[in-house]
């Protein structure tokens, strides 16, 4: 017996840590017939750990103060080493977490994993879901963008329907509106809740290990050969699943990081202006749709909460004794109908209430929402209780080791995947956007291999400096950041030296001194009031994040800059001091057409036309919005290659390990 074994024995005799791990993770008997839908539990666990880790490291840099929060997030993106990676990992992680957990729940619903003796296991899962929703909501508030602020306002106002609602809401806010106290407590709770989730996950696992996993056949295990030790059979299968999952997650982090985000959240919170189209994150959309489809405030809120809380009663609403839908000919179809219904509810939530589906014969979103809400509750309160009484289940197999005929089993897998595809297809007519179409330009930085063109960026910076900067600030950019445009240290010093920044002299008097490369590029106005006074009451927005903060991104900004029309259509009345631009929301814009022929002469002597200038400045603004774009994609390729190798490797190991049983 070597030293190490001795130490392990010594510890284990006093604290049975190693035998616990051995028992619960290595030899833990698991049904031999689990399919890939059983991967999602472990994926959820891994995601939770990664979310907590990345969250802790983000919290080291984040400032929960309404004046600093938005900028501190941009600080993380621009200055903290790998800050962009942490933030995109965490932000997309929330999406991944919900995808995995929703699939995990639908799996439980299909295979009846909530039925006796696993009722508490299921209910603990619903508690986890509720905690996740609260955590995700509060996390979304932290960047303190427009969606954060208005999301917080709308969600907290839900509580106003209850008795003493006003008092409750003010208590939640710590004031008379969403403000600094709200942000502070949300940050504290957003940090706390994940650890509560860990606690409930532990209970969830204890409950799971009491009777072991359910399985695709839904029947109890009877003999030892029905089970396999968890390790290596399911550890390696989980690792293979992890590889695929990581590939999906990495794709979003590195190549499409804002896919699930709302452009409006790159606009700092403004308590006086609500964004025109306010939507929650996708994972709340079905519930949001239920809230909106009921025209009564109290009933709407009750229905929305009810849509989640009904899950607690699922084990008793489903009266069938048969667990797996494989043997329930009617429920199987009802289940897939329910999945489609949830998807449609999501689409309903994504569109505005008065949206009309032209390609569905003028169906109104309101009606569709009401029908799908009824179906949602019908599934729980009508279908599930009645099916158990009237459905005639197919005969169950005797044991896991002698399942139904092989051929038949194969077919059912094919049918399942076909149904899954059908779910997505069935709702395609519901896709489509509310915003007007934009002309598409070709940008060098688009696509997975796109990079910035240094010459375009320098030209664009010149256009910004000589034209835009008269009214628009660029507050996230420091002079030294311009090194990324290809300027040398000396050139940057010279550029900075053209600007003055506020300072205090040794006697305490405010003075102006020459800007240094480390200073932020000073804006044209001292404060918001000065900016409004100089612009007819309109506030020229900061341009640092412009291409991320508008639907359509660079295409939108380009269309706006080049889309002015001198003579508006006859039916449109243009107010005094406004200009007609079909691409601006409302079609009237206070900004005078900023670009004109011969306005700028590039340092290389070129005299650009308006389109060229617009193109260059939009390229430049895309860089100011996403300075990490190139390194992000490069890192992304390495990560993707790594996980492809990892997944292939795990696949072969899995085949090898499982060859022993098959």
């Amino acid at each position: 017996m070597d030293r190490l074994t001795k130490v392990v024995r010594w510890i284990d005799y006093r604290l049975p840590f190693f035998s616990f791990i051995d028992h619960e993770l290595r030899e833990y008997p698991t049904p031999r017939n689990l399919n890939y839908w059983w991967n999602f539990g472990s994926l959820a666990g891994i995601t939770l750990v990664i979310m907590i880790l990345s969250g802790i490291f983000l919290a080291m840099h984040y400032e929960p103060d309404t004046k600093l929060a938005f900028d501190s997030v941009e600080y993380i993106m621009r200055n903290v080493n790998y800050g962009w990676l942490m933030r995109y990992l965490h932000a997309n992680g929330a999406t991944m977490f919900f995808i995995v957990v929703y699939i995990h729940m639908f799996r439980g619903l299909y295979y009846g994993s909530y039925k006796s003796p696993r009722e508490l296991l299921w209910m603990l899962g619903v508690v986890i879901l509720l905690l996740m929703m609260a955590t995700a909501f509060m996390g979304y508030v932290l960047p303190w963008g427009q969606m954060s602020y208005w999301g917080a306002t709308v969600i907290t106002n839900l509580f106003s329907v209850f008795p003493f609602g006003e008092t409750i809401v003010e208590w939640l806010w710590g004031g008379f509106s969403v403000d600094n106290p709200t942000l502070n407590r949300f940050f504290a709770l957003h940090y706390l809740f994940p650890f509560l989730i860990v606690g409930v996950v532990i209970l969830h696992l204890i409950a799971l290990h009491q009777h072991g996993s359910n399985n695709p056949l839904g029947i109890d295990r009877k003999e030892p050969r029905d089970s396999l030790p968890f390790h290596p059979y399911y550890t390696v299968k989980d690792l293979f699943g992890l590889g695929i999952f990581a590939l999906v997650w990495a794709y979003f982090i590195f190549f499409n990081p804002n896919f699930f985000g709302e452009p409006d959240n790159y606009i700092p919170a403004n308590p006086l202006v609500t964004p025109p189209h306010i939507v929650p994150e996708w994972y709340f959309l079905p519930f949001y749709a239920i809230l909106r489809s009921i025209p009564n405030k109290l009933l709407g809120v009750i229905a929305m909460f009810g849509a989640v809380f009904v899950l607690f009663f699922l084990p008793w609403l489903d009266t069938s004794k048969v667990r797996s839908a494989t043997f329930r000919p009617v429920y199987k179809w009802i289940f897939w109908g329910f999945v489609v219904d949830c998807f449609i509810l999501g689409c309903v939530g994504a569109h505005s209430p008065d949206y009309i589906y032209d390609n569905l014969g003028g169906l109104s979103n309101q009606i569709l929402g009401q029908v799908t809400t009824l179906l949602y509750f019908g599934f729980f309160f009508i279908a599930l209780p009645l099916l158990g009484l009237y459905e005639k289940p197919n005969p169950l197999p005797k044991s896991l080791s002698e399942p139904v005929l092989k051929g038949k089993k194969k077919k059912s897998v094919e049918i399942q995947s076909a149904l899954f595809a059908l779910c997505f297809l069935s709702i395609t007519p519901l896709y489509g956007t509310d915003s007007p179409p934009l002309p598409h330009e070709v940008w060098s930085f688009q696509g997975p291999f796109g990079t910035y063109d240094r010459a375009d960026l320098q030209h664009g910076f010149q256009v910004y400096k000589e034209v835009c900067s008269v009214c628009h600030s660029l507050s996230q950019i420091r002079f030294r950041d311009l090194a990324a445009l290809g300027y040398s240290v000396e050139e940057i010093k010279a550029i900075a030296a053209e600007y003055k920044v506020d300072a205090i002299d040794d006697e305490g008097n405010p003075i102006e001194k020459t800007a240094l490369p480390t200073d932020k590029i000073p804006g044209p106005y001292k404060n918001e009031q000065a900016a409004r006074a100089a612009n007819n009451g309109a506030l020229p927005p900061d341009l640092s994040l412009m291409t991320k903060a508008r639907v359509g991104g660079p295409d939108y900004v380009y269309a706006l800059l080049t889309g002015y029309e001198l003579t508006p259509p006859k039916d449109i009345h243009i107010a005094e001091g406004m200009h007609y631009n079909p691409f601006f929301p409302g079609e009237q814009i206070a900004m005078t057409p900023p670009l004109s022929e011969g306005l700028v002469t590039y340092s290389d002597g070129a005299q650009p036309n308006v389109n060229q200038m617009a193109k260059d400045v939009v390229s430049f603004l895309s860089w100011t919005a996403e300075p990490e774009l190139e390194v992000r994609k490069q890192t992304g390729y390495m990560v993707l290659i790594y996980f492809i190798v990892f997944t292939i490797l795990m696949y072969f190991i899995m085949k090898r390990v499982w060859a022993r049983v098959k």
Binding site: M86, Y642, V645, M650, A659, R660
Partner: protein, 193 residues
Amino acid sequence: MTEETVDHASHEKKEPTRRDFLFLTAGAVGAVGTAYFAWPFIDSMSPAADILAQSTVDVDLSPIPAGQAITVVWRGKPIFVRRRTPEEITMAEQVPLSALIDPETDQARVKTGHNEWLIVIGICTHLGCIPTGNKPTQDRGKYGGWACPCHGSLYDTSGRVRRGPAPLNLGIPPYTFLTATHIRIGVNEVSHG
């Protein structure tokens, strides 16, 4: 369970090398991946880009009279900028190296042609307290430089430690003379300012 033992044996005999190779590769790939995954987290705690960039401070020396000193902050640390009197300079230059705890000549601690100016990091090399003596009202200790209030280390007019427990002389920050009366702390050559 039974199956495992049976099949285990037969497979292990047939292809032990290929299996071992597969598992070893997987282990290596996993270890490398974990290390790479950990790195961004660790590195996110290092000084951020803007903190690294905030690395220079310009100081106007003209208001400092001989025999006195000022404190400026560079990278969050106190920097002592002292205009030495001729006597203090002679004192510093004449100490034999053998009398020093951390032998270093005075010339090595100032810029040639500017030996009137002593610029040191004002942090005691023992455990990080700020020595006294930079203000005229403060005790400079018997070597005329600085005295550390925490555990009694004494520094001379060249900022060298003369009595422990501090093991090393006061550090010299990178700095450069822009003009005869202006310095920039944080860089050793002007061109990189």
